[in-house]
């Protein structure tokens, strides 16, 4: 109830600033007149009465400002004035304005791009995998060189058959492929994976099926022709 009053009265003060400041002036003015009348009734001369009353009330503008400063909409009004002023200043120097707009938009764009990429790579769990937190990578490190090296297929089968702490081990490698669409071939970069790859990740196809165990018979091979739906 009182919050509603706060909001509606404040909004009224904002939309009808002249009326609300006139209200305060009238109220102070009335106070002053009453004070003068009371002083006269107490036996003062009209001049003295007026002087005494003015001394007591102070100047009307001062009182009005004190009252206005105590209201929340005054802060909003000041902010609006500041905003209007800055817009005016920006319009007066269009070159400066466009440079600022350009710099800010480039900055925002760059930050957004970097964040979206970082979000997808670093923070979001692997899409489709049933339990990404239990997924680990096995790398073969060559001590002589700095960094990893590819594992052989026998190495993969060796690890796969003996792993006891993992529910499954899948392998993947990079390969160059050619996709033909309507007579034209496109060279694409793809991954060649072991037949259990999707099973280990826990990915389920939305439609159809992934590889069957018997399709995984030949190591390092892939169907010669893939038909893309």
């Amino acid at each position: 109830m009182s919050l509603w009053r706060q909001l509606t009265r404040g909004a009224r003060g904002l939309t009808n600033e002249r009326q609300s400041s006139r209200d305060i002036s009238d109220e102070v003015q009335h106070y002053l007149e009453q004070s003068v009348a009371a002083n006269i009734a107490n036996g003062m001369s009209p001049d003295d009465a007026r002087r005494t009353a003015l001394r007591e009330v102070g100047n009307i503008t001062g009182v009005r400002e004190t009252v206005r400063a105590s209201l929340w909409e005054n802060t909003v009004a000041t902010l609006l004035t500041d905003a209007r002023y800055s817009l005016r200043m920006l319009r007066r120097s269009p070159v400066f304005t466009s440079v600022v707009v350009l710099v800010i938009s480039l900055g925002v764009g760059a930050v957004t791009t970097i964040f979206s990429a970082a979000n997808a790579f670093l923070f979001k769990p692997l899409p489709g995998a049933s339990d990404p937190s239990r997924l680990v990578g096995i790398d073969r490190i060559e001590t002589a060189a700095n960094g990893g090296t590819q594992a052989t297929y026998p190495f993969y089968t060796f690890v796969r058959d003996r792993a006891q702490t993992l529910s499954g081990v899948a392998a993947w490698g990079k390969t160059d492929l050619t996709i033909s669409t309507g007579g034209t071939g496109h060279s694409v970069y793809g991954n060649i994976v072991s037949g259990n790859f999707f099973l280990v990740l826990g990915v389920r196809p939305a439609l159809g099926r992934f590889f069957l165990p018997e399709e995984d018979a030949i190591p390092l091979a892939h169907p010669r022709h893939c038909r893309l739906a």
Partner: protein, 111 residues
Amino acid sequence: MDQPSTDVIQGTLDMLILKSLSLEPMHGFGVARRIEQISRGVFKVNPGSLMVAFQRMERAGLLNAEWRQTENSRRAKFYSLTRAGTKQLGIETEDWTRRAAAVARLLRAEG
């Protein structure tokens, strides 16, 4: 009036306004006058503080304000208590009585 009047004790202005208005609806000067008279000139209300308090209390829903036309065709704002205002007066009076009694006891205590 030999002794000079002072501002009202901090934090009691709202209570004094509520009390004055509980008798009858009044305009600002009326409230100031009443506080001064009933306190026998001990307290004098600053008009600025009074107006600020009116605005705040009206928005808090303690007072209702109404513009009335005076005899010399001026506008005057009359304030009256709302139900919440009456309730608030009860709360503040009780609180004040408790505190004042405590201070009185402290001042009377010896040794």
